[in-house]
């Protein structure tokens, strides 16, 4: 068995994280060495926390060294736990309390225009991520985490889900590709996650496996939605069966992998992925769920991003991923309804309310009958427009 273990990150350019080096010894009790950027203010506190955690895991003799760049408690705890679990086998978990703000569940058809990807093992980016008001925040365990760091990242993501306030953003985790990803579910399902992103999804069976595992873990029976990411030719072909699977509320496309899979270069214009995107939108809409576009990787070019968003909206997508907070506003502006769309929606919703008030069963606008799904869509447009401040809540008085 290994004698020493290390977890976390420390260095000149790393802040809000720490590196824990743990050695289990035979005698001598617990010896903790703290080297911290915030030593004077929190040195004692860090020492006590580390000692408490080791005791919690039943460790009586150990040398623990922590090099800290200003990590918050939930980060330090995750790093110590990761180091402990690299050395001893235990089912215990040292859990930070779930903050009340994180106890909400989300609706099936809430807005999912923007979802901000955060590397799951980089705590600095998580703390303020919610301030930028993306519709969702993804803690990523897949591509942004190196294989050697997967284990500690899962523990950190678990603690992040419990302790960090995302200010109303939908709390998402992108697990690893199956089968490894099934293990990741243990670190997020019991910890108030709202949605699981299933990468490189190619079949309804994979979704079934995810659902089965979630059911087994979801003792609180909270709503946990799924967003499969289609990233291959086969996935595109099977997208409808995936879309109609249980708990799936949105279908996303990952174009880097898809382009590689079909042997094409990814371009800004996206001719190579036109079929895939159209197919994905079609499958999603046939299943009455949302279609979500890929990320736009040039974080400095806001104009190109806007063009991309408008193209995406034009194809029928409801949202896309972001890799930098600066992209969020552009994406929200791009997916915002146009003046024309708002105008039409106002008329439809107004006609619906008038008809309901008069007790009429049928809604009509001029000579045209209006079906319920159209009313519903119009209501959504109005809600979005109000949210964005494009119209006021009292818009009917202003007609």
């Amino acid at each position: 068995m290994k004698k020493t273990a290390e977890a976390g990150n420390y260095g000149k350019d790393v802040s809000s994280d720490c590196r824990v080096t743990l050695e289990i010894t035979k005698t001598g009790g617990i010896k903790t060495e703290v080297i911290s950027k915030v030593q004077a203010l929190f040195g004692d506190n860090i020492k006590k926390l580390c000692t408490d955690i080791l005791k919690y895991f039943g460790i009586k003799n150990a040398k623990l060294r922590i090099e800290d760049g200003g990590a918050l408690e939930y980060v330090i705890a995750a790093r110590v736990e990761a180091a402990v679990k690299s050395l001893i086998k235990t089912d215990k978990e040292y859990l930070p309390p779930v903050i009340p703000e994180n106890k909400f569940e989300t609706e099936k058809d809430r807005f999912r225009r923007s979802r901000l990807y955060l590397p799951g093992n980089t705590p600095k980016l998580a703390i303020n991520a919610g301030l930028h008001s993306s519709d969702g925040i993804i803690l990523d365990l897949e591509d942004s985490v190196s294989p050697a760091k997967k284990f500690e990242a899962a523990i950190l993501v678990r603690n992040t889900l419990r302790a960090v306030n995302f200010y109303g953003g939908e709390r998402m985790v992108r697990i690893n590709q199956l089968p490894a990803g099934l293990k990741d579910l243990e670190y997020c399902v019991p910890h108030n996650v709202n949605m699981i992103l299933v990468p490189k999804c190619e079949s309804a069976d994979q979704i079934k496996q995810v659902n089965t595992k979630i059911k087994a873990l979801n003792k609180a029976k909270r709503k946990i939605w799924l967003m499969p990411i289609i990233e291959s030719a086969l996935g595109v072909i099977n997208s409808y069966e995936i879309a109609v699977s249980e708990n799936v509320v949105a279908l996303a496309i990952g174009l880097e992998d898809y382009s590689a899979d079909i042997g094409a270069q990814r371009t800004n214009e996206g001719a190579e992925s036109f079929y895939a995107r159209a197919m994905l939108v079609n499958s999603a809409k046939a299943a009455k769920i949302q279609a979500i576009d890929s990320v736009f990787s040039d974080v400095s070019d806001m104009e190109a991003l806007m063009q991309n968003v408008l193209r995406s909206k034009g194809l029928g997508f409801d949202g896309m991923g972001c890799i930098h907070p600066r992209q969020i506003k552009v994406i929200h502006d791009g997916y915002a309804p146009s003046a024309q769309e708002i105008d039409k929606a106002k008329k439809i919703v107004d006609a619906f309310i008038t008809a309901t008030e008069k007790g009429l069963g049928v809604v009509s606008l001029g000579t045209k009958m209006i079906d319920p799904p159209i009313v519903k869509r119009a209501e959504k447009t109005i809600k979005l427009a109000v949210n964005l401040g494009l119209i006021t809540e009292n818009w009917r008085e202003e007609i």
Partner: protein
């Protein structure tokens, strides 16, 4: 050391420092010195060369001719910032001459001044009265300086000179261009830094004035920001500054999404509260967040067809852009932070040199700061009573100078856009480590997690009652910071006072104790 007394903001301060009596802070506007300003000795023009040529062979020669001796006060300005190649040399010469116990009175110090530490250790310098930057701050806080440091604001430095509280024996003033008579400015030459506004009190009140230049030009050197009639000697050296370090490192708009978010919130608040309006007077500093706010304000002014009447420097390229695009009518400038600003002073007729003298001084008949509508400032800490700190960090170490910060607090609306915590350190505290600015003068705290309005500003609270912006109480913000970071432990200090913090009127607002190691 005399015993400590509690001043009007509840801080324990000494009544005697470095053998001089000092007055504890009495409250805002309570201290009114009387009598006459200090005056330098009378000189006679017949003692100076008839041909006007005051050039001597070296700084050493000039210092000797000025009678450099033990216990003298030597002043310098900080317009060459971290590229200053003149100041350290003064003390090397003094050391070589065996002179002891000097007082260094810089208008600010920078990391490049770290070498003076050895002269603090070897007794050449007794103490620094000025700002304590980085390594100097550490040295002082650890109780290693012989004398007690005195920290003053830019305006406070002028006040101390005019009150005769500090008597400058020799002012050594680096000048990017000078003629042989000592007429000097900062517009031209390899070390051009725009203005020399911080040197004005020095050349007017010092016993002796030495100009050090690397760009000797023909007489008459116009404009003469420093007039040769005040100058004793001119020294020509190879280089007075490192140009790329003269330019401040901070004049870039922040890239940090979190800081941009604070800047955006601040700008929204300014607009909604009506503080930002057509014709407003504004100052935004050179920090990344302040610059972002300036830039957002620029956009709003453009959209609305408004104009800021007066922008108060330190100026930057962003302010120059406003001037050139017509959203700012005048820039009044005591220092230029980047090369674009330096060039603008030379070429734009509405970009004016404006000595700190006129802007900040307690002893002038009114000054610019009280006229400012928008004042964006920073802080290392703020307490629940809105008192703020800029000189030390929460770990107790001195780290920054006061600069014009205290003086600027007198503006109509003082806004501090600051993060709620840095790494794990809450910025909003029960009590600040060092009290540098009284809460009565600080109006609005903008953090990424909420905006707090000083309860004294009933007008703003009323105006923002229905705002959708995240308005909270300062206590709520403090609690939120502690909830995220945990409650920091109180720092332990020893008895020894290592530095005092002066208020703009010359009274002592707080003292800094030696850190316990």
């Amino acid at each position: 050391m005399a015993k400590l007394v509690k001043n009007a903001v509840g801080r324990m301060v000494p009544t005697e420092v470095n053998g001089q009596k000092v007055v504890p802070f009495k409250g805002l506007g309570k201290h009114r010195p009387t009598g006459h300003k200090y005056a330098p000795p009378i000189f006679t023009s017949i003692d100076y060369p008839e041909d006007g040529n005051k050039v001597v062979g070296s700084l050493k020669e000039a210092l000797k001719k000025c009678g450099l001796k033990d216990g003298m006060t030597i002043s310098t300005h900080h317009h060459l910032r971290d590229g200053d190649l003149v100041s350290n040399g003064i003390f090397d010469i003094a050391h070589e001459l065996g002179v002891k116990d000097l007082v260094w009175l810089p208008s600010a110090s920078f990391p490049c001044h770290q070498p003076v530490i050895k002269h603090l250790e070897n007794g050449t310098i007794n103490r620094i009265e000025g700002s304590m930057n980085g390594p100097l701050g550490r040295f002082v806080t650890e109780g290693k300086m012989k004398g007690t440091a005195v920290l003053r604001s830019h305006g406070g430095r002028v006040q101390a000179i005019q009150d005769g509280e500090v008597k400058i024996d020799i002012a050594v003033l680096a000048a990017p261009s000078s003629d042989f008579f000592g007429n000097a400015n900062a517009l031209y030459g390899p070390s051009a830094c725009g203005v020399l506004g911080y040197a004005s009190a020095d050349f007017l009140y010092a016993d002796r004035v030495i100009i050090v230049t690397d760009n000797l030009v023909d007489f008459p050197n116009m404009p003469m920001e420093i007039q040769g009639i005040y100058v004793d000697y001119v020294v020509v050296v190879d280089k007075i500054g490192i140009p790329e370090k003269i330019v401040s490192g901070t004049t870039q708009i922040t890239n940090s999404p979190d800081r941009l978010y604070i800047a955006e919130l601040t700008t929204k608040f300014l607009l909604e509260s009506g503080i930002l309006k057509d014709g407003c007077y504004m100052q935004a500093g050179a920090g990344g967040t302040s610059l972002a706010i300036g830039n957002y304000v620029h956009q709003i002014l453009k959209e609305k067809g408004w104009k800021s009447k007066v922008g108060f420097g330190g100026s930057t390229k962003y302010m120059v852009q406003m001037l050139e695009e017509g959203t700012m009518e005048h820039i009044l400038d005591a220092q230029a932070f980047d090369l674009e600003a330096v060039e603008s002073i030379a070429k734009n007729k509405n970009h004016h040199q404006y000595p700190v003298f006129n802007a900040y001084n307690y002893h002038t008949k009114g000054n610019l700061t009280t006229m400012m509508d928008i004042m964006i400032l920073g802080a290392t800490e703020v307490d629940v009573n809105f008192n703020a700190n800029v000189v030390s960090h929460s770990d107790g170490y001195l780290l920054h100078g006061i600069g014009g910060w205290q003086n600027c607090l007198h503006a109509k609306n003082v806004i501090l856009p600051i993060p709620l915590f840095r790494d794990r350190i809450p910025v909003i505290r029960d009590e600040v480590t060092t009290l540098v600015g009284p809460g009565e003068l600080i109006d609005i705290i903008v953090t990424e997690r909420g905006i707090a309005i000083n309860p004294l500003r009933k007008d703003l609270i009323k105006k923002m009652k229905n705002s959708k912006l995240p308005i909270k109480t300062i206590k709520q913000l403090k609690d939120e910071a502690e909830r995220i970071c945990g409650k920091p432990k109180a720092i332990e200090f020893e008895e020894k006072v290592v530095a005092i913090i002066k208020w703009v009127d010359g009274t002592v607002i707080d003292s800094v104790r030696k850190i316990k190691q």
